[in-house]
């Protein structure tokens, strides 16, 4: 007799589970997403139904990840929608500024309460010498991303870059949109909202691009990032003193690539999901380790956040301090990167990360003229050799800050550095390569792909757009099979080379 369906289990699939949000790449997500896509195709002619189905699914998606915090999403939508309307309607410039400032304070107040209360309390307690008991504040997942997304709307209205939308429905979709809800990209109202009412059309190029993004996203996230971090970099970062300096160094270079593959892999999947629903979102990464300067890096890494801060924080600050010239710009850089650090989390490691980047940038700005003059004198100013050297140098500066991105505390950070400088043991490298060939191959592959010309990527997408659907499906199936092999692979055994 066939087993009866366990309705309790089935119901659980629809309920909030702290340990099981609907992440892209899980089979449950795939199941729900296919259902949404089918509704989408069936109601292709009925725009309202399509929009409501997306809003409904996005709310469900957030509920699965954050439970009752779904109310915060609603609150954020109401606050920013009406604030946008008022800013636009008010004639007085002072009044506009007052509404904008108040709304930003409320937005940031909510964000700061959930994310930083304990961090600030701890600092206050440390100074006053009291006992610190952290308050039990749960963090609503994705809050930094959707708060910034919502704020872009009111700021763009204030800057007269857009007019507010009349449709609360469209605005909620902008805030709720599940592909970019939890981890960005932080889309702008000015590019996103006009796409909502547009007719749903998928070109061959869209399908080819989506296929490319899914394949690259799955490989980056599940094959490279998850496998290498689980079997290598996490272990070293959690117990740096158990490993030799050479392993610590290798883990640092590994972690830089893992961090990129993890975030950009997730973003690729988000972009593909959005694309299949007819939405083009901001791209978030452009081969960041090809940057020839730190400023160039910030045009290539987490682009939606860096342009957000550039347009809404750095530029206004820089302009208001312009009479101080270079000093004013330095202050603007310093403040912006302090916020960049803090935005990533309530931890001193992130604050130091931001501080280092601001020092790099200010130093680079202050010495630019002299360096250019020096390169001209040597006759290498626009040479390829100089460019390669600059990329190599920038990359190493970045890797140094990447330690701070991954390490749990400043104490661990100093442990890693001390292992590298006092307990290096270069001979372990060969043993390591022999013991973990897969890790080395994966990292080597990731770095190699990273430095291939961007035009190869464009050509691949073109090719994928032209091949028959059957071949496209076959490619996807092969990639999924490959990913599953890595996802289900057993953990690599620990080896402590120093013993």
């Amino acid at each position: 007799m066939p087993e009866s369906i366990d309705f309790q289990k089935l119901l659980e699939l629809f309920q909030y589970d702290k340990f099981d949000p609907l992440l892209f790449g899980t089979s449950l997500f795939l199941f729900f997403f296919l259902a949404v896509l089918i509704i989408y195709r069936v109601f292709a002619q009925n725009n309202a139904l399509k929009i409501y189905s997306l809003i409904f699914f996005s709310l469900f998606f957030y509920y699965k990840a954050a439970n009752y915090f779904v109310a915060l999403l609603l609150l954020s939508s109401i606050l920013n929608f009406y604030s946008g309307k008022f800013i636009f309607k008010t004639a007085s410039q002072n009044m506009k500024r007052l509404i904008l400032t108040t709304t930003i304070i409320i937005n940031l107040g909510i964000l700061v309460y959930f994310k930083y209360t304990n961090f600030f309390l701890e600092i206050i307690m440390n100074i006053s010498g009291g006992e610190f008991e952290p308050l039990k504040i749960l963090l609503p997942i994705g809050i930094s991303f959707y708060t910034f997304k919502a704020m872009s709307y009111i700021i763009e209205i204030y800057f007269e870059m857009i007019e507010p939308t009349d449709s609360f429905r469209d605005f909620t979709l902008f805030i709720f949109f599940f592909p970019n809800l939890l981890m960005g990209p932080i889309d702008r109202a000015s590019t996103f909202i006009p796409q909502i009412e547009r007719e749903y059309k998928l070109t061959n190029h869209d399908v080819g691009l989506a296929l490319f993004l899914i394949c690259s996203g799955l490989i980056k996230k599940y094959v490279i990032a998850d496998y290498v971090s689980l079997n290598f970099t996490d272990r070293v970062f959690e117990f740096p003193l158990r490993f030799t300096g050479v392993e610590n160094l290798l883990a640092i270079y590994g972690a830089a690539m893992v961090g990129y593959c993890d975030f950009s892999g997730y973003t690729d999947l988000a972009l593909a999901v959005g694309l299949l629903l007819g939405f083009k979102m901001i791209d978030n990464f452009n081969r960041p380790f090809k940057a020839y300067s730190i400023a160039d890096y910030w045009r290539r890494w987490h682009i939606s956040l860096s342009t957000w801060l550039l347009d809404y924080l750095f530029k206004p600050l820089q302009i208001s301090l312009r009479n101080m010239r270079g000093y004013g710009t330095s202050i603007a850089i310093f403040v912006t990167f302090f916020i960049v650090g803090l935005w990533h989390g309530p931890n001193w490691t992130f604050i130091l990360f931001g501080l280092l980047h601001s020092i790099y940038l200010i130093f680079s700005m202050a010495t630019q003229k002299y360096r250019d003059a020096f390169y001209s004198k040597l006759g290498i100013k626009d040479s390829k050799v100089l460019r390669v050297f600059q990329i190599f140098f920038t990359f190493n500066l970045l890797v140094f800050t990447a330690i701070l991105f991954r390490t749990p505390s400043l104490e661990y950070f100093s442990h890693m550095l001390s292992q590298i400088f006092t307990y290096f043991h270069a001979e372990v490298l060969l043993q390591y390569v022999e013991a973990y060939p897969i890790i080395i191959i994966l990292l080597g592959f990731a770095y190699l792909m990273h430095y291939t010309p961007l035009s190869w990527e464009k050509k691949t997408v073109e090719l994928l757009s032209k091949i028959p659907v059957v071949v496209q499906a076959l490619i996807l199936a092969v990639v999924i099979w490959f990913v599953i092999q890595f996802k289900s692979a057993e953990l690599q055994p620990f080896i402590y080379f120093q013993f």
Partner: protein, 77 residues
Amino acid sequence: MLSERLIKVLNKELNLSDFNFTEETTANQVPGWDSLNHINIILAIEKEYSTKFKGIEILRVKNLGDLQKLIDSKTAQ
């Protein structure tokens, strides 16, 4: 129409000679006009026209056409 005077200031600040500036040109299309250099260009324009822009006025400028209009509105006063 962009004035010769504005183009002269831009060429001087950006060390350019034959770049084709139009009303639709945005900062990121011009070589050397990055976010760090931006402020020097604004200061040079303010100096050339002996005027002072408000912060919000500069932030609302989307392209060179807007910039020219802003300058015109200031010099007409």
